[in-house]
Symmetry: D2
Subunit: 353 residues, 4 copies
């Protein structure tokens, strides 16, 4: 445990993008925000500015609720979109299913998550089409109420705008609302080269968990709602869930700096490029199989056991024991350099021989 | 609204101690923490250090859960101390009753808050004695399960150690657990001149909401549990409630710096001293009545209407329309100087004439 | 305990109207319903008939959800009228406050009950007027969402139609919904000599807990909703709460028989008349003070201690140790005869001497 | 709809065993119970007797909570066995998964149901073994806390005592509790020819939903707990959920009569025998395939479409459109006679030709 509780050099840190610290611009913004006296609970100029930036970026007025974790963003968003007797349709691999200890069930007062399968951790439209009307109106069954899609997914895959539109259309046609878990929103956006508006509300998204923490912020994510009718409810739910920070300025300063001068896009671009570089390098190494070409900043591959062990012995930190034997995940972040990636590739090559 | 959404000079800011920013030492600690790569979710050296400091300060091993708000700290603590069919006995003036939009009910899955009265926003022991066994064992009634006391209270009063011991003894004797809402823990501690251990577990407290945000931190409070049997449950509850930060280091760095070199005590001492200075000054002004001698950093007094209006016109920000007509609250913080207080006193004197 | 777990003669049974069994007509109806094969879950002719009768009696289409207890009726009704961050305004003496072990909090996912005082266990209109807008729109506070009135109250008092109208108007004017806990609906109706429509939806009631169990049925109460928009939600909530009986016919047969040939009104009239007879008799006895002239079938009075003891020694069963010393409650039911009451009066007189 | 809301002759009623009415003995017991005055809320001789009979039948002291539906029995039982952050392992075909509109999630305050597959709607021991420790101790995941098995299953299959023992042992070894959904407990018991004790607590069951409604009662099922430590909690949970009937005697009288003179076993034997008779007859008809040999009173088979249509045209009522095309379910009950079955077989034969 002593080795775990220690700082890891960026060149060895691939367990998740949340191993990274924070962008200097965000640190500076937080430091700057610390000086003056402002009203609490979001009635401050930092919050106003963060909201305005989000509205600019999304090309429309949006309602914003800044929270301290992505789990809170997801839980509160889903609670606003489904009644307790509703079901949330999501991919079986999704974070809300597996990695939040039942947070969606807690925030929704007991709604049910229902898995809708599909390749590459992406919901299959035909499977969704079959699921959205399942037992609709049958009092014995939970009622399909919302669809939640991860963009990018937990596998690192990215829905195209057309795919999002199609899933949303299926959902909307059956009366369901649509949530996007955008913990890696910027990474997906960079991959697609589209606009935030195109990837969300123009494609039918009602509420977005807008991730910032993994991509350079410290402890701030935001719920971005495109449906003005949800704003009042989200405000009360957030307060009641302990997510209305008294010194909201410190969340807001992070989001504000994150969106200033395209910092968020630069960070995501870097992270994605590093994953691509890693993927390209690995593909060229015999005996190493990518599970998919990385689209965001997550790469899954199969490594021979001795390679994994060799990397671990060198101090590399990454997930290797969660899936089928041999399956390994590397996550890149804005803190990685081309050198870091090349060192990792060298190490893999060395151990492969 | 434009005047509200702006920075206020410290000399005018008396609405709450959460108008203050953050101590420079805490800002620096957060900046320092931003650099390296560490494991997420609290498996990092900052969290280890913060925990160790808390254990040192409380003179025993404690379990620590760092959260983003005091409402979350209170809600999670109470959820660990009462079943859904339990009741939490608290003063009718308490924050959990009035200012958390039902957060305790949310976190506990519907337990009931039951008011126990007493002077100065402090629970009366005799009233508590009558309440702890009320309908115990009666299946038709919620069951008294926990007592929650605010230290300092919402009125700025502070329980003595003997008073805490007495309330805890009454609770424990009837099988109830005891929670302390320590949003202003340091202010109370400074007033009493006692030790954290004496004011908490040695006096019968089971779980403490350890406030830091109001006294110099940014967005970090901590649940400190003195009962090892609650740790597992609190961990799952915190995660499930969206309070397990992936970059926990940033909460931890705040708490760690807060506790380093007695920063927390210095900050509280300053805030308390400013309230005392303000109280002493106001007492000397004819027509101004203190509702109580301030014990922490909150001061309630009665001001003539034209004085209140005069202060507001000068840009002073404080609560004046929440209670009986004429009742006004000033809250001081570590950011106030003696000059700030003297200016306020001058202004009151000027308007009183 | 052995004496408690035994059948008590009606002449001695005054603890509550739920000591009574069931009306023979209801028993017969249940027996008749037991014979054939019908579809489950309320898709049966008995349920259709019960609904039709309720619609006739209320002079309009109503939505009906038959449940097994009054607590379930109240909990489900309130859950349909308030969000989790809402508050339910009710008299501090009300059953939902004191006698349901937090059922409203459970069914509403943590809404808060807020007491609104008034004499005779009845909500005071001025107090309600002050409460309905308290902290409305303030995100730190639960939001007043529904008013719940007991008709008749737990004290046996009965709101006039004008009083109900006034309370409803105050609630509606502030955007709140109105619930009536009609566990003793028929008793109140008999006292007022009005119609069910006048006492409910024409006076602003949105949802009614229509009690039948205490007045001659076995295990069946009904939620009667006057707002068609609530029907879908109530259906899912009832199922999810384990209140959609598979053999719903047996609930329905009880309600149906209860409403046939004015059985419900006859039963209530009898119970009320017996309480009046008892009150008239007691008033004539020196040293006995009625707390109020009984309006329904509940009578509170003060008895000297030796009288209470004398009655208990004779096998009388009634509540005598729940309130101020000397306060005693007698509840009459449709099973009591004038002889039963006269015997009780004789006994009181005997022991008073 | 008019044809649906009508009485069906027993000879045509095969949609579920809850189409049946009630056994005459149970009707008589309810009628007998209606006469006298007893204390409410289960403090009556009928409840005492029902509890005693259950203790006799299970050959040990048991705690009993009589409720109005099987959904309530299941929901309350599971709530006592799992914390909100727990998971309940159950077969994907189970009633708690599909047919209770999220009741388990409601009663448990948001625990998660996790499917464990197996043939014939029965949990596979190896699959269970893999599931019970999945992510145990991982704060990001719900924690396996209870296993729930249906006896008999929704398919009509029955676990042997050895199979129950094996599943329980796997659960217990990993620290999980075990619940049995015995909505058709008597049918399973009859099939196995074993004792209630052997099939439950001696095989590791902690809490049982003891079904009576489907097998001859009206509106009464019981939670039977074999763990004395759960009794207090179950009592409060039941009250709070609106399941503590004031006239509990009417639930108790049903359960008491159900267990008197082996009525419950006779009823189950009849229902099972009729399913066997039907299965034997269908097997002999060309083109008709049983999906499994019926073990309890449920029979699944494949019918040609024209046969299904022919039966429907004759007024037969049964489920035929819920599964794969051609799959049809017949459920027999204690009300069916050999003649009823033979008529159905005749009809199938006629339409098959």
């Amino acid at each position: 445990m002593s080795t775990i509780i220690a700082t890891t050099p960026a060149s060895r840190a691939f367990i998740s993008d949340n191993m990274a610290g924070a962008s200097p611009e965000i640190v500076q913004a937080v430091a700057d925000a610390a000086a003056g006296q402002v009203l609490p609970y979001g009635n401050d100029p930092f919050t106003v500015s963060a909201r305005r930036r989000l509205s600019e970026i999304f090309e429309r007025d949006v309602d914003v609720f800044m929270v301290s974790t992505g789990s809170a963003a997801n839980g509160l968003s889903l609670a606003a979109l489904t009644p307790p007797w509703g079901s949330v349709l999501a991919h079986p691999d999704s974070h809300i299913h597996h990695d939040e200890c039942g947070a969606p069930e807690f925030f929704t007062a007991g709604a049910k998550l229902v898995g809708v399968p599909g390749d590459n951790s992406m919901i299959d439209p035909d499977a969704l089409d079959a699921a959205v009307r399942r037992k609709a109106g049958d009092v014995h069954s939970v009622q399909p109420s919302a669809v939640s899609i991860s963009q990018a997914t937990e596998l690192g895959s990215v829905y195209t705008v057309a795919e999002i539109r199609r899933l949303s259309a299926i959902a909307k046609d059956a009366g369901l609302r649509v949530h996007m878990d955008g913990a890696r929103f910027a990474n997906a956006l960079d991959h697609l080269g589209t606009t935030p508006a195109e990837m969300t509300w123009k494609a039918g998204i009602d509420v977005l968990s807008f991730g910032a923490t993994k991509n350079g912020a410290m402890t701030a994510d935001a719920i971005v709602s495109f449906d003005p009718e949800l704003a009042t409810e989200l405000g009360f739910r957030a307060k009641r869930a302990g997510q209305l920070a008294s010194k909201m300025r410190f969340h807001a300063a992070q989001i504000d700096a994150y969106l200033t001068d395209d910092l968020w896009l630069h960070n995501a671009r870097r992270a994605n490029a590093m994953a691509t570089r890693l993927g390209d390098g690995l593909k060229a190494i015999p005996d190493i199989a990518l599970l998919a070409t990385p689209q965001a900043n997550i790469l899954f591959c199969r490594l021979p056991q001795h390679v994994t062990e060799g990397l671990l012995a060198e101090g590399y930190v990454f997930h290797h024991d969660r899936w089928e034997p041999g399956t390994v995940r590397f996550v890149t972040s804005f803190t990685h350099s081309a050198d870091d990636i090349d060192q990792l590739l060298d190490a893999v090559r060395r151990h492969t021989r």
